[in-house]
Subunit: 283 residues, 2 copies
């Protein structure tokens, strides 16, 4: 396992960690100034400015874009809406290419409003990924399927385990083109009894495209916005990183923390300082 | 699949559904008066009165005890605490026998305070169940391992999928004695991509000891106390029951709803009326 001490160049900050409180250009500067090697920006902040300018700034600061967040949800109640979702994602893939992103993060979406058809939503997701895989190849940007914690199955992602993501990868990309894989996020996956086996399988098939860290707080008070800083929760992050890296992952370690009542209220530079310290001590 | 219309005798109410606002004897009367065939009481309400009297009242009303809730958490930071947890559960098994419970519901516990050793906690759980299985046989009360939703992995249960529960059953009770199995709860399991396969495996091995229903609300606002009434959420409950019953489950259908801000504020008889209606229409 790589030693992260003094190696913030191996570490990336997902801009959500700072709460999207400032213009993206300011956030990019802060992350670069703090010494991190990577950044993962969000579409809503990129799309309201000029993607070429964002790409230029990131490139000038020599930051790796560890992922572009994130896909428009795929499952829809109508074919027209599904097609619109696909088109949205294709446009985002073009921006991901402009940014030089290592992957396009696919949070695939939950059940369409009013639906109880989980199997149908999962089928739509597979169909949509198949279609987007063509575009991903065209633009040279891999799709990283991010299994989300099962508590988001209804409204955010019907892909909920790494095994499930890998099954889709194997079905749609048996040749392991490098354009389809998974994002392993400690928050979403830490509980999974099959995680060790799934990481091994993913590694063998070169499917791990991103690795995200934060922590699961024992007293989690909100389903979405109460993630913990690394070291403040129950996840054995260094054991997880060891496993991911032993199975071939050599990309950056990305911090992604949604924390409305805590970290999003703190000074951004302080947050980055704590991220840096925890990455080097508990991850 | 059995038709529940006019068959409330096939349905049971977990007393938590009424919010534990009244003395247990009053709750028992309400549930029987409403026509339900079963009840699942909790230890904290049984243990503060007299278990023999509770058993007598339940028997006089001809209610089936579909489960006795629930185990003391097993994983502990010290051996002494682990042993105390085992002893607690043994005492509860004696009460479960007095009540004539169809099973003792095992919510196995999360990580010991301050621990990040998920694998160790899971090993403790297996050890504890092995020990309790002896007692279960003695008292004639099966242990129903209840996989809890992964959002409870830190603090309530390190068994989080039906597959995982079944692996423990197969390891500890390969002869399928009937004294070790699982409780399938729609709320905890609905999202699981492997659920269909796990239910089939459980059925083949006669492991399904209880079936619990409520619903997952799309806009869940609390991790513990915001479960939905059947029909108000996203779970295809009739498809799930069909699957469970096709695989051999012939016990009662138990309603278990934790709902601090909604159902626990309503009149208990109204809650029971809605449960009865939904059981007969959407389950």
């Amino acid at each position: 396992m790589r030693n992260l001490k003094g190696r913030l160049d191996l570490c990336s900050i997902n801009t959500a960690t700072l709460g999207h409180r400032e213009p993206l250009s300011r956030t990019i500067d802060r992350i670069a100034s703090a010494g991190f090697g990577g950044i993962a920006p969000w579409r809503h902040e990129v799309e309201k400015v000029n993607v070429a300018e964002v790409a230029k700034q990131i490139k000038a600061l020599d930051l790796t874009v560890t992922g572009y967040c994130r896909s428009t949800y795929l499952p829809a109640a109508t074919r027209a809406q599904f097609d619109a979702n696909i088109d949205d994602n294709k446009a985002a893939l073009r921006d991901a290419a402009t940014l030089g992103a290592r992957c396009f993060v696919m949070v695939v979406g939950g059940l369409p409003e009013g639906s109880r058809d989980l199997r149908g939503a999962r089928a739509q997701v597979s169909d949509g990924i198949a279609e987007l895989l063509e575009t991903a190849r065209e633009f040279g940007v891999p799709l990283a399927l991010e299994p989300l914690h099962p508590m988001y199955a209804a409204d955010r992602a019907v892909i909920n385990t790494l095994a499930q993501a890998l099954d889709i990868c194997d079905a749609l990309d048996p040749e392991r083109s490098g354009f389809l894989g998974a994002a392993v996020d400690a928050y979403h996956c830490w509980w999974d009894p099959a995680l060790q086996a799934s990481i091994a399988a993913a590694g063998r098939n070169e499917r791990i495209l991103a690795f995200h860290v934060c922590d699961w707080l024992r007293e989690t008070r909100d389903l979405l916005l109460d993630r913990g800083m690394m070291g403040d929760g129950v996840v054995d992050l260094s054991a997880l990183r060891e496993r991911v890296e032993r199975n071939g992952y050599d990309g950056l370690v990305e911090v992604e923390i949604f924390s409305k009542e805590n970290w999003w209220r703190r000074d951004p530079d302080d947050v980055l300082r704590v991220c840096a310290e925890r990455l080097q001590t508990v991850c």
